[in-house]
C-alpha cells in the first residue's frame, strides 16, 4: 500500500513537471509567433496607438503619483541617514541613482503589470471565453496579428516612457522634500546629482532595463490571456497568474540585468 501511494505521489510530480515544461515550450513558441506576426499587426498603426492609450496613457496617473511619493519618501529617509555622517548634500545623487538604476524601472514595471498587464490578460481571456478569437479565425483574421501583437507592442513602447516619467517625478519629489522642506542648498542638490550620475552607465542602462521589463510584462500578459481556460474562473486565474508571474520575473530579471550592467564596471 505505501509503495503504491509513493508511486502515485511520484506520478503527480512527474505529470506536474511535464505540464510545466509543455507550458513553457508553448509560451516560447507563442512569443516567437507574436514576433513573426508583429510586422503584419504593426501595419495597422491605429491599433497599436489605441493600445498605447489603454496601457500607457491610462497608467499615467498612478505612475506619476507613485513616483512623486517614492521620491519624497526616499529623500526623507535618505536625509535622516546621510546627515548622521554630515553628507546630507549627497541626498540628490543618492535619490537620483536609486531611481534611475533600480526603483524607476522596477517599481514602474510592477505598477504597470498590475495596472495594464492584468487588464490585457482579462481582455484577451474574455475574448477567448466568448469565442471572439475563434470568430476572427473563421473570418480569416489572424488574432495574433489583430489582437495580440498590438497589445504586446503597446506595452513595450509605453514601459520605458512610464519608467522615465516615474524617475523624473521621483527626482522632483526629492527636490521638493530636500530643498523646499528640509532646507538643503539647491545648488549642492543638483550639482552633486549631476556630478554623480553618468548618462551611459545610469540613464541608458535604466532605459534598457525598463524596455526589457516592458517586453516581459507584455508577453506574460498576452500569453496568459491567450492561454486562459475559456471560463469565468479561467480568466480570473489567468489575471492573477499574470500579476504574480510578471512581478516575480521583473524582480529576477532585474537582478540578472544589474549583475550584467553594473558589476565589473567599477560601480559595484
Amino acid at each position: 500500500m505505501p509503495a503504491s501511494a509513493l508511486a502515485d505521489g511520484l506520478r503527480r510530480v512527474g505529470a506536474g513537471t511535464r505540464r510545466t515544461i509543455a507550458r513553457l515550450g508553448f509560451a516560447a513558441r507563442f512569443a516567437f509567433a507574436v514576433l513573426v506576426h508583429s510586422p503584419e499587426g504593426l501595419k495597422r498603426v491605429r491599433l497599436t496607438l489605441r493600445e498605447i492609450y489603454f496601457s500607457g496613457v491610462l497608467s499615467l496617473v498612478i505612475i506619476l503619483v507613485s513616483g512623486l511619493f517614492v521620491g519624497m519618501v526616499l529623500a526623507l529617509q535618505g536625509y535622516d541617514i546621510l546627515q548622521r555622517y554630515g553628507a546630507s548634500e549627497s541626498l540628490g545623487v543618492m535619490v537620483a541613482l536609486s531611481l534611475l538604476r533600480e526603483l524607476g524601472p522596477v517599481v514602474a514595471a510592477l505598477l504597470f503589470a498590475s495596472r495594464a498587464g492584468s487588464a490585457i490578460t482579462a481582455e484577451i481571456g474574455l475574448m477567448k471565453a466568448t469565442d471572439q478569437l475563434a470568430a476572427m479565425e473563421m473570418m480569416a483574421v489572424d488574432p495574433l496579428a489583430r489582437v495580440v501583437a498590438p497589445r504586446f507592442w503597446g506595452g513595450v513602447i509605453s514601459m520605458p516612457l512610464l519608467a522615465a516619467l516615474f524617475s523624473t517625478m521621483g527626482v522632483y519629489g526629492a527636490y521638493l522634500v530636500g530643498v523646499k522642506l528640509l532646507g538643503l542648498d539647491a545648488g549642492a542638490f543638483w550639482g552633486n546629482m549631476q556630478a554623480g550620475v553618468d548618462f551611459r552607465a545610469d540613464i541608458v542602462n535604466g532605459i534598457i532595463k525598463s524596455a526589457v521589463f516592458g517586453m516581459i510584462v507584455s508577453l506574460i500578459a498576452v500569453f496568459e490571456g491567450y492561454d486562459a481556460a475559456p471560463t469565468a474562473e479561467g480568466v480570473s486565474r489567468a489575471t492573477t497568474r499574470t500579476v504574480v508571474a510578471s512581478s516575480l520575473s521583473i524582480l529576477a530579471a532585474d537582478f540578472v540585468l544589474t549583475v550584467f550592467m553594473f558589476r565589473g564596471v567599477g560601480v559595484i
Partner: protein
C-alpha cells in the same frame, strides 16, 4: 473615445515621456555640461590630487567659478595634469595658487583658487605655476605618529 482624442492623448503621453528622458539626461545626468564651450582653460600640475574627479567644482572664495574638465598623468614628470574650465567672466592673476581641498571631512573634493597680487592675468590655455596637493589623511596621521615617537624618544 474617438480617434482624434486617442491620438491626442498618445501624443501627449509620448511627448511627456520623451520630455522626461530629456530632463533626466540634461538636468540629472548633465549630459551637456552647460557653459562648457563658453569657458576658457587653465592647466595646473599637482603632485597628488587625492580624490579629485573630473567635473568637480573649481571655487574661488567659496564661489563656484568653473569645473575640472580632465585629469591625466604626465608621463615624464609623473605629476597629475588637471585641466580647469573657468567661466569667461572670471579672470585670475598669474600668481594664483591652486589647491585641492575637501569641504568637510567627508564632503566633495574641489579645486580652490587663492588670488595673488599680480597685475597680469592668466590667458586661455595658460598654466597655474603654484599648486598645493591634496592632504592625504593617512600621511598626516603617519607623520603625527612619527613626530610623537621622536619627541617621546627624546625624553
Amino acid at each position: 473615445m474617438n480617434r482624434s482624442t486617442i491620438d491626442l492623448w498618445v501624443g501627449i503621453f509620448v511627448a511627456l515621456g520623451l520630455g522626461a528622458v530629456l530632463f533626466l539626461s540634461l538636468k540629472v545626468g548633465n549630459l551637456v555640461t552647460t557653459g562648457s564651450q563658453k569657458g576658457y582653460h587653465i592647466e595646473a600640475a599637482f603632485d597628488n590630487i587625492g580624490g579629485l574627479k573630473s567635473r568637480a567644482p573649481v571655487k574661488a572664495a567659496g564661489v563656484i567659478v568653473g569645473r575640472v574638465e580632465s585629469i591625466r598623468l604626465d608621463p615624464k614628470t609623473y605629476e597629475a595634469q588637471v585641466s580647469l574650465n573657468i567661466e569667461p567672466q572670471y579672470q585670475f592673476t598669474k600668481d594664483t595658487i591652486a589647491s585641492i581641498l575637501t569641504s568637510g571631512l567627508l564632503g566633495e573634493v574641489y579645486v580652490g583658487l587663492a588670488v595673488g597680487g599680480d597685475t597680469q592675468m592668466i590667458a586661455d590655455g595658460g598654466r597655474i605655476a603654484k599648486t598645493q596637493s591634496a592632504v592625504v589623511l593617512e600621511k598626516l596621521i603617519g607623520q603625527f605618529l612619527f613626530d610623537k615617537a621622536a619627541s617621546g624618544g627624546g625624553q
